[in-house]
Amino acid sequence: MPAIVIQGVAATSAFLAKTSHDILVSTEKAITEAGLFIKAEVVESIAGNRAEPKSVDTGRFKNSIATTKPSPMTAKVETNVDYADILEYGSSSRQPRHHFTNTAERNQIKVKDFVTAKVKKAI
């Protein structure tokens, strides 16, 4: 009676498990690095080295920018300074400066390409 024997199932399964683990690790690393990159870009924007006006007086706002990782696949760039929303969105007496939104817009494609390249490298 003819029979088909499939060899290497265990090795294939082990390879796929390792690859998917490698992809997850690389993605997580890439997201952490992207978060740090965006943080640096926001700081540059506040310092007046990008298109937005400089927002440094005492340096409190610039020094407050931090990256956190609320979950393995998320990086958050944030500030705890209470006047940050007025600087970002403006007020009745102040024009908006959009340090965060403009940085996100400017670097959206860069971050996407960076993470994709890291994942491809892992495969």
Binding site: Y89, S91, S92
Partner: protein
């Protein structure tokens, strides 16, 4: 001249003016009876001179082109992010105006002759609504709302 639909050659200016006109004509200004002449309820830039609140500002917040419509085509689909900001004297007024603007835009989408889709603005989405409150009892309370529309450039 009133804008009735968005055309490819002037899509950004048309969108801003169309939405401004829609809000101006359909959202009730709380100061409709008392607003001095020369003072506007709906503006297309942040005010630089003293104004009488509440006001609504409509400005563009960036454009993305997520895709081309085929390799051999010059047509593109464009996402336009429009900021509609409510500036009010207190939180209740701010939230009531926000509700009114949002519900008007939502319900205006499918109107046969003059709705957003008939005017070439598709895919209405509210992306975010962030409160920005100025200090003090008399501080202006505003809500920064980002809407997204899809426009086919052809």
């Amino acid at each position: 001249m009133a804008i009735t639909s968005v055309s490819t050659s002037t899509f950004l200016a048309d969108t801003i003016n169309l939405i401004r006109d829609k809000i101006k004509n359909n959202v009730v200004d709380p100061l409709v009876a008392t607003r001095p002449s020369g003072q506007r309820f709906c503006l297309t830039a942040y005010p630089k001179n003293p104004v009488i609140y509440p006001i609504v500002t409509v400005i563009d917040r960036g454009i993305q082109q997520p895709q081309r419509l085929g390799m051999g085509s010059e047509s593109t689909s464009i996402n336009m992010d429009i900021e509609i900001r409510i500036w009010a004297r207190n939180v209740a007024e701010r939230d009531e105006l926000f509700d009114e603007v949002y519900n008007f835009l939502r319900e205006d989408q499918h109107d046969d002759d003059t709705g957003l889709i008939a005017s070439n603005l598709n895919g209405f989405q509210l992306l975010s609504a962030i409160n920005v409150s100025e200090d003090g009892e008399n501080g202006i309370k505003s809500k920064v709302c980002e809407y997204r529309f899809l426009f086919i450039c052809e």
